[in-house]
């Protein structure tokens, strides 16, 4: 399984926002008409979006996993949690306006074999939904959040015929009571391979258990980014080969590379 290298097809452009959906008080889904990005996008890759109307106060673009990409319609979708100024400004953009976007960036997931287990913690579901949607083989998809309010992802994105969805909440307000990790541990014995994205603590457990049981596993990591294309060395993460760049050597890494002694 080869990590996808797509840096040569990166583009930087102004793309029209087609659709905006605010979900609950904390989440936002944006759909752009961005054929050159959508056409090249691989699951696990991300885009940099430049916060609009911020002037030079926010000099950095914001990284977001690609949540959906449609080659035919040229539509690109991101799904994010409104957490600070950049995401707040993005969530205020109105359809019809143009935003500056760079992408697709980074190396994505390898193609999951049948029987793979996808483990999503919170907003970490974004790249995994795209991954699940891109294949036809059977998959288990764990989607764990703190409470029902954080079930931000509209189910029509996940409810696909090839996919068995396992919802879990820490307060039991929807799906099973428990954590994504509990469920992961139950399903791991049957998993062909594991693909995970979510909080660091979750990834550490997933990585350790997969390494212990010899199941191939990939995680998508986050780090603060500036350039997004491997130039500035700002998004370093320690790996067994020294510091690597999350933006261009990742964001997807095989667990044995980044959790070589239990944690980075």
């Amino acid at each position: 399984m080869r990590l996808l290298e797509a840096l040569n097809r990166v583009s930087l452009g102004q793309y029209t926002l087609l659709e905006k959906e605010i979900i609950g008080s904390q989440y936002c889904r944006l759909v752009f008409l961005a054929p050159s990005v959508a056409g090249a996008a691989q699951p696990g890759q991300f885009v940099m979006i430049y916060p609009p109307n911020a002037g030079v106060q926010k000099i950095l673009p914001r990284p977001f996993s690609i949540f959906a990409a449609d080659r035919e319609t040229g539509q690109l979708t991101v799904f994010f949690r409104i957490i600070g100024t950049g995401t707040a400004l993005l969530s205020l953009s109105e359809p019809g306006t143009e935003l500056k976007i760079m992408g697709p960036l980074g190396k994505g997931f390898p193609v999951p074999p049948a029987g793979s287990l996808l483990v999503a913690g919170g907003i970490g579901m974004a790249p995994l939904v795209f991954l699940a949607a891109s294949v036809k083989v059977e998959l288990n998809f764990i989607y764990g959040v703190a409470n029902s309010e954080q079930f931000s992802c509209p189910l029509d994105y996940i409810n696909q015929p090839n996919l068995v969805l396992h919802e879990v909440t820490e307060d039991g307000s929807r799906g099973e009571l428990g954590s994504a990790v509990d469920l992961f541990r139950r399903l791991l014995p049957r998993a062909e391979a594991v693909f995970a994205c979510g909080p660091r603590t979750m990834l550490e457990i997933v990585a350790r258990d997969c390494l212990d049981s010899g199941v191939a596993a990939w995680v998508s990591l986050e780090e603060r980014m500036a350039c997004g294309i491997g130039a500035c060395r700002g998004c370093a993460v320690m790996t067994k080969n020294g510091y690597q760049r999350v933006c261009s050597d990742g964001p997807v890494f095989p667990v044995e590379e980044v959790f070589f002694h239990g944690r980075t």
Binding site: L12, P61, A226, A236
Partner: protein, 313 residues
């Protein structure tokens, strides 16, 4: 009116445009051109290269600040051999002149990189980053002390015939003194400014945000400081100045030129807009054209009619 002439001679390096990529943000020089054409750049200053590879600092290495960026990359770089074997051949094909930023922990290390790079085809100049902590002087940056500055610049000068840029740190009491020292020690160009020393604290975790605690502040926030240092140094030295610090537009770049810089470098502004070099080039040309000025060199230092020494209190 004909296209204004943007060519400048930067200490012996003949540049097609006065716009450079600053060392660090532009990485090895090979990443950005894959995405945005580099034709508007007169030269690329490659990220700091040391004799041996440097690991860099623990993450997080970046945090955004008000109109700025704090970084503690720690000069991670693959070392001289990798640079020469792997990056340099590709850099030569890009078009812009190539200037190599060199770093070291001792005077000998600086001299060693300079010596290896001297005469290598494709290397058009060296920029000595004297903000590095001096291992033998308790980690104090070379560039905060005139004696150390003279020592490292002379050592490098002795090893190279290439045009020599010396890049100053702004974290000093008297930038003009350091600049003068660097000039006397053999600098062909004074580059300034490097980042201001700073930090941020995460009040939820109750610890510094950066893995290294301290970092360097860059971006629009620091531009007034950079501009004043360029002005002061232009008053003091007779070699040309490469100005940088917070440039995000042609208007910003023009301020540096009018303060006395021969050329400007774009750093954090590239994060804000990877297409900035082109925008700055067009903007400068447009300004000159509107005013009927035939050549950029005519406005170098033009705001300095009555040089001033007024220090505000």
């Amino acid at each position: 009116m004909a296209e204004p002439d943007l060519r400048v001679n930067l200490g012996g390096i003949k540049l097609q445009t006065p716009i450079l990529a600053a060392s660090g943000p532009y990485g090895s020089g090979l990443e950005y051109p894959k995405m945005a054409p580099c034709g508007a750049l007169g030269a690329i200053i490659v990220k700091g290269i040391s004799v041996d590879p440097w690991l860099g600092n623990p993450p997080p290495r970046l945090v955004e600040t008000a109109s700025g960026l704090l970084n503690s990359i720690g000069l991670q770089n693959p070392g001289l051999k990798f640079f020469v074997d792997h990056d340099l051949p590709a850099l030569r094909k890009l078009g812009p002149k190539i200037i190599v930023n060199i770093i070291g922990r001792t005077v000998e290390e600086y001299a060693a990189v300079a010596s290896e790079l001297n005469g290598l085809p494709g290397v058009d100049g060296l920029e000595v980053n004297i903000s590095c902590p001096n291992l033998k002087a308790g980690g104090m940056a070379f560039g905060t002390n005139p004696a150390l500055t003279a020592e490292v610049v002379k050592a490098v000068r002795a090893k190279t015939v290439l045009p020599l840029l010396v890049k100053l740190t702004p974290n000093v009491t008297d930038i003009a003194l350091i600049a003068k020292t660097a000039e006397e020690a053999g600098a062909d160009v004074i580059s300034l400014i490097n980042t201001l020393s700073g930090m941020l604290i995460d009040i939820e975790k109750v610890e510094p945000v950066l893995g290294n605690a301290f970092g360097g502040l860059s971006g629009p926030a620091i531009m007034p400081v950079a501009l004043k240092m360029v002005w002061q140094v232009a008053e003091t030295v007779s070699v040309p100045i490469l100005g940088m610090g917070g440039i995000t537009s042609a208007e910003d770049a023009l301020q540096f030129i009018m303060a006395g810089a021969r050329a400007v470098a774009l750093g954090s502004g590239l994060f804000y807009d990877p297409a900035l070099p082109d925008k700055v080039k067009k903007g400068i040309a447009g300004y000159l054209q509107r005013r009927g000025i035939s050549s950029l060199s005519l406005i170098e230092g033009s705001a300095r009619k009555g040089d001033t020494n007024n220090e505000p209190c």
